[in-house]
Structures are given as C-alpha cells and as structure tokens.
C-alpha cells in the first residue's frame, strides 16, 4: 500500500477534498491518510454514493419533497444529497454543470423537472461529453428553459441552438450566425409530451386542477426540419444528434469545456463573456485537459483526472485561492458538524441560508449562471456567512458538533495547551491553513479560557466559531 510521504501530501489531499468535494471531514481525512495523492484522486473519481438518506424516508417526512413543487423542496432535496453522500465529488460535478447549464425553477416553476435534470447530470456528468450534450438536449427542463418547444420546422426559435454553441459547448467566436440557424433547424421537433398544455401550465404557474405533470421528452418527426443543413463546414440532413457529434469533435469544444473546468476547480477565470477576447490564464492546463478529452473519447472524468494530477492544480498557489461559493460554505460546514442523521427541517433553513448569501440553488441569476469569485463577498453576505458557520459549529445541541469536540479533546489529551488545541481544531476542520497572524489570534483566544489546560466543550465550541469566522475559512 502506498502512503502519504509528507505533510505536504497531507495538505495536498486536503486541497483536493476542498475542490473535488466540500472539504474533508475529520473522518475523511483519517480514511485517506494511508493513501497516496494519486490513489485519493482515483478513489474520488470512482466513488459511488452509499450513504445518502433514502428518498422514501425523505418523502415520508417531507411529502413536499415528493412532488417537489416549490424551490425550497427541490433544492432542499439536493442539499440532503450534498450533505449526506459519501461521494461528494459527484455532487460537486453536478454543481459545476448547474453553473454551466444554468436552468432555473424560477421560470420552469415545477421542481420535479429540476430533479429530473439533476438526475440526468448525475448520470452523464462524468461520462462522455457527447452523451451529456445529447441528454441535455432531450432534457425537458432545458427544452422549456430555452423555449425549444417553440422551435418549429416552419419557424425556428434560436434560443437553444444559440446557447448550446455559445454557453454550453464552444464559446463565441467558434461558429457563425448561420451555424446558429442551422443548429436550431436540427433541433426542431425536440419538445415535450403534451407541449401546449405543459407550456401553458408553466406560464400560468398553476397547480390546478391536479398538481404539476412532470415533463417527458418527445421527438415530433412532423415538426422536424429534415432538410439539408451546413453546419461548421459539414453538410447533410442533420438531426440534433448529428450536430452534437460535429460539435464534440471540434477542438474549440475541448478548449471551452477545459476552461470551464479550470475556472471551477482551479482558479477564477475572467467572466465567460470575456473569453473570446482574452486567452486562458493557464493555457498549459487547458491543453492537458484537451488532450485527455480527445484521448479518452470526450470523457469528462478523464479531463478531471488529468487536471487533478496536473502541476497547475497541485501548485500551492492554487490552494485556498478561491472564495467558497455559498453552497460550498453551507454544505461544507454542515458536513463538518456531522451532517444530517435523518430527515430534519434544518435542511430548509440551510438551503435558504445559501440563498441569503447570494446563491439560490435552482435559481441562477441568468443563463450564464453565477459569476462567482469575489462577487460572492459583500458586507451583507460576509456577515451571513460568518453567522451561519458560527451557529452551526457552535451548536452544542447538535450531536455532530459534540462528536467533533470530543474528537478534538481526545486528540489533544487530558492536559492541553492553547497551541495544541488550535492546531488540532484546525486539523479537524479540514486541515485548514491559516496565517501566522490568524493562528496567533486563535491561540490568544484559546488562552483566555478559564482553564485553558482543560478546556470545556463550550470553550472548544467558541474556538471553532472563531475559526470559521476567519478570513481563511472563506476560501477553498
């Protein structure tokens, strides 16, 4: 068995768990401590969820999460998955695609369609990009989000045809306006069952008479333009799947997806609309992922493996260099505090908290998703972030918090020092790295306990609250 060879490896794994998950819990860090970095990468990439709370249990106690009519219900249901899964990488990838393929319940109204969309991302998000694009194009939430039900043989609607090129696969500058039209023609007839009634119920936002009816993809051959099309230099009687095949073999697609992956998993890039005008900040990393894309037959997992093993990802300059998104902060903090051991109304408060901090899941601000980066931080959101995290880790009524404190105290021994308590607490909060100045402040705080050699649970909880209020905790 290979083992980590140094403290640097340990910290590198902590970096990986922050980026490819929601931060390592004390248990996860211990589980991975006998593996090499490469082994951990492969373990994460191939993980299968085995611990999420079963849907039947959730639905019995939260019957609203059965029909998922409201956004609190549907996003809360996703939060359960994010918090309780032992394969957080999958949920992180889902969040990545939710940012790229930004669809919103704000327009679609019914959360069941969002759940179906999420299930599609979960199934195809790490697979081959052509499979993902094909299923995205057949995804009812995407069809109604971008009005493809109005894309007819006799009168095309360019919404989906444009966005698949501009936002989802290639980026501006790699196709022409004529390509947009031809692409749109190829997706005519890609709609949902009972199109008129479904679209009207969405527009009228009505659950009457019998609740929402979840949508299902339908190909209508009578409304499909089967004529000859010329797209990206190729000519034929293309349907949507032919268009996707042409898109996916184009080098621009590899580069565009690679840049998105870098933007999300490594370092903040410029906003997407500026990409046509400025080169990537790390062309070598883009090239490594592009090569993996073609070598693997368009596999997203292969691209991410190449990324996680690249020097650009492993570089210390990338560590703790991105601002946590609100959902990363919420999920990571709740997981550190033990997560949910069963259905709990806390899930609604927690998903709402992410919204108050600026990230409403299933409600991206536009088709371009969330900007991220420094945009996550404002005076108001900062107060909410600190208050939320402090409330979670300081709640001694929560068994997970008591367990965390118990672990910290057992690791520091019967008699401790403020330095040891701070070091052990940081290690149990995902191996959080802090500046000397911050560490000094934390030690000073730990020293102020009535009996700092024998800190009480409340003393440790207060220290944890101070740690999650640091500047460093805001980064991932």
């Amino acid at each position: 068995m290979t083992t980590i060879e140094s403290r640097t490896d340990e910290l590198l794994i902590a970096h990986l768990l922050r980026r490819a998950g929601f931060g390592g819990t004390a248990t996860e860090l211990r589980d991975y401590s006998n593996l090499s970095y490469e082994d951990v990468v492969d373990k994460l990439l191939n993980a299968v969820d085995s611990t999420s709370i079963p849907q039947d249990v959730i639905r019995r106690y939260h019957i609203d999460q059965s029909d998922l009519r409201t956004r609190g219900s549907s996003s809360g249901n996703w939060l359960y998955q994010m918090v309780t899964t032992d394969a957080p990488f999958i949920e992180k990838v889902n969040l990545f695609w939710h940012r790229v393929f930004a669809t919103g319940q704000t327009k679609l109204i019914q959360g069941k369609a969002m759940e179906t969309h999420l299930a599609m991302l979960r199934k195809f998000g790490l697979g081959k990009f052509d499979d993902l694009l094909l299923n995205l194009s057949k995804d009812p939430a995407m069809i109604l989000w971008l009005d493809n039900q109005d894309n007819h043989k006799a009168s095309i609607n360019e919404n989906y045809g444009r966005e698949i090129l501009e936002l989802f696969a290639m980026g501006v500058g790699n196709y022409t306006e004529e390509d947009v039209k031809e692409c749109s023609r190829a997706f005519t007839g890609w709609t949902v069952e009972n199109t008129d009634y479904m679209a009207l119920k969405m527009r009228n936002n009505t659950m009457r008479p019998y609740g929402y009816v979840n949508w299902q993809f339908k190909f209508d051959p009578d409304d499909h333009d089967n004529g000859e099309k010329t797209f990206l230099g190729e000519t034929g009687n293309f349907n949507g799947d032919d268009i996707i095949a042409i898109i996916c073999k184009n080098p621009a697609t590899a580069g565009f997806i690679a840049r998105h992956l870098y933007h999300y998993f490594v370092a903040d890039e410029l906003p997407v609309p500026q990409w046509p005008h400025f080169p990537p900040i790390n062309p070598e990393a883009i090239q490594v992922m592009s090569d993996a894309y073609f070598d693997s037959g368009y596999s997203i997992k292969a691209m991410l493996r190449a990324l996680f093993l690249s020097d650009s990802f492993k570089s210390k300059t990338a560590w703790n260099a991105r601002v946590k998104s609100p959902i990363e902060l919420v999920v990571g903090t709740v997981r550190l505090a033990g997560g949910y051991d069963g259905p709990s109304s806390d899930v609604y408060n927690h998903i709402a908290a992410s919204g108050y901090m600026g990230q409403d899941i299933y409600a991206p601000p536009s088709v371009e998703g969330w900007m991220g980066g420094a945009d996550w931080i404002s005076t108001g959101s900062m107060v909410m972030r600190v208050n939320f995290a402090g409330e979670i880790v300081g709640n001694l009524d929560n068994k997970g918090v008591r367990d965390l404190i118990s672990t910290i105290k057992s690791e520091t021994g019967n008699v401790t020092t403020p330095e040891s308590l701070v070091r052990t607490s940081l290690a149990n909060l995902g191996n959080l790295q802090v500046s000397d100045e911050t560490r000094e402040g934390l030690v000073q705080f730990a020293s102020s306990a009535e009996d700092s050699a024998h800190p009480s649970d409340q003393d440790v909880a207060s220290l944890l609250q101070l740690i999650v209020a640091t500047r460093e905790y805001q980064f991932v």
Partner: protein, 339 residues
Amino acid sequence: MITQTKSKLNYVDTVGFGADVGGRGFHIPVDLSIRPDGRIYAVNRSPMHRLGIRVGICDVNHGWYHEFGSDGTDDGQFVGPTAITHGPDNRVYIADEELNRITVYTPDGEFISKWGEQGSDPGQINGPAGLKFTSNGDLLVVDHLNNRIQRMTPDGKYISHFGSEGTGEGEFNLPWGIDTDSDPSGNIYIADWRNDRIQRFTSNGKFIDMYGSSGREEGKFDRPSDVAVDQDGFIYVADWGNQRVQMFDSNWNFQQSVRGEATVSPWAQEYLDANADEAEARSRFNPFIEVDTDDPHEISSRVESYLWDPTAIEIDPEGRLIITDSLRHRLQVYQRSNE
C-alpha cells in the same frame, strides 16, 4: 375467516381538486375518515403552503360542507397532521406527528381537548402516524417512531401496547396506517411501512400472521402506507412506493392491483370552465402518455390520471374504496364487485 370468490375493483369517480390556500378542495391530503352518514373528513398536510393545512369535509357526490383547523400550535391547530379518525360519538381525532399530540374536535370541528407527551415510556408517544377506534371504544395509536401500537382511552390514558422495533413477527419498522376488522373478531391490521408487509393481530394485540415482501410484482409491496378491510373481509393495501392499491382476500390471495384512472371532477371542471385558456390547451392533453421510465414514482409524476403517493385508504358505508391521492390533491373512488 371468510372465503371469498374472485373479485375486482371498478373505478367509480374522482372527488376534489387542488386548493393550496384553503377553501373547497384539497392540498396534499394524507388521511381521511368517513362518518356513518358518508361525510368524508380529509386532513391536508400541505407542508410548504401553510394556508392549505386544514380538514376539508365533503362527500362522494361532490358535496362540500366546510373546513376546520389551521397551521399552528394553538389549541385546535396542527403542524404535521398525519391521521384522522372518528370516535363512536362522531368526535374527530387528529394526530400530529410533529407536535406529538392528539386533538379532539366536535363533529363540526370545534376544539374540545388535546393530549400527548413526547417520549417512549408507556403512554408517551413519538410520531403518531395512525389512529383507529376499536369496537369497544379504545383508541389505537400507531406510535411509529417507538415502533409500537398503543391502546389508549379517548382522553389519552394508557391501557396497553404491543410491538417493538425489528423485522420479526410482531415487530415493526416505522409502521404507518391501521385498520380493524368490522366483524366481532376486531382483528388489527398494521401497515409495517419499512418492512414492506402488513401484519395482522388479534384485537388484544396477539400476532396472527403477516403478508408481503419487497418488490414491484403483484402481491409485493414497496413501503405500504395504509391498509383497509371491508365488511366481507377483503383487504386493501396502499402500496405507496409502488404507487398503487392492491386488493387481497382474507387469506391474502391476490385479487387485483389498481394504478388509478382519475377523471376530471366537477370541481376541477368548474375551474377549467372559469379558465378558458387552460381548458382549451387541456382539450389536446393526453393524460396517459407512454412513459420512458419504469420508476413508479416518476411514472406517476408524468401520468396525471395515475395515483401519486396514495397515502391512505378507507371503506365508506356503501362499501366503496376511497383513496387519498395525495400529490394529485383528490380522492379516487373504487367499488368492488364479484367476477
């Protein structure tokens, strides 16, 4: 036990439509109780639309009477209503699994009293999920998080209990619905939800037999949420996870499974008549599309006429089966006949 000939269930009608802010209609009804005169009391859970939490009173002929109760913790209010039943004196009893209390109302819905204390000691309750009066006036409470059935007086005094957590005979895993034989035996039936089976007990709680295993095939269950027994001994199971109701004879011989075939109720039609654009678009609506999934929950979300989370079932005085079609905010009515 009675031996029966092969029977079948025939669809009769659909009652109600969605009303999430109160008024005529339902919003996520989770249980119902039927008075001897046929009045149906349906309790609506309505978790994300708190104005929709109430009891609606109607009948199978689409009559609407009134509603009572609302969201809250004050007397007469509820937060997480799960079960409703009528006492011998027609008083109404409602269980609230979040407040861990039983509230008693007059037949018109006026608050009378409340009782219940959270805990696991005898007489305490944790997540009351089902209610049923025995023929001698005791109240059986499905104390589901304690995995037991408690026998109480109508005013909440402990008498006895049976059951414990487990998978063996007489043990439960999060039980839910309850019914009793109407014959003198008074046998008790429990939907043993997470054990995917129905258990039958004598009227004093002695285990008789159990039926069911996990699966989607006929005669198998996926999280059965309720059970009802008619006057001829036929047993009906709300096979919640499989989104259907199954019928058995008293010896557990499978008779039929129904998936639901709801039609537009008069209340729903009045809504459509008042919203011409929806009526016009609905005129081209096919409620029975061919689905591309085999997941029963997903299928029900796409096929409007099917049952979607059929949570509770009751037999009315005419022997009709009334199904609470929870996520479609309506009742589907069936009647058994001999083939």
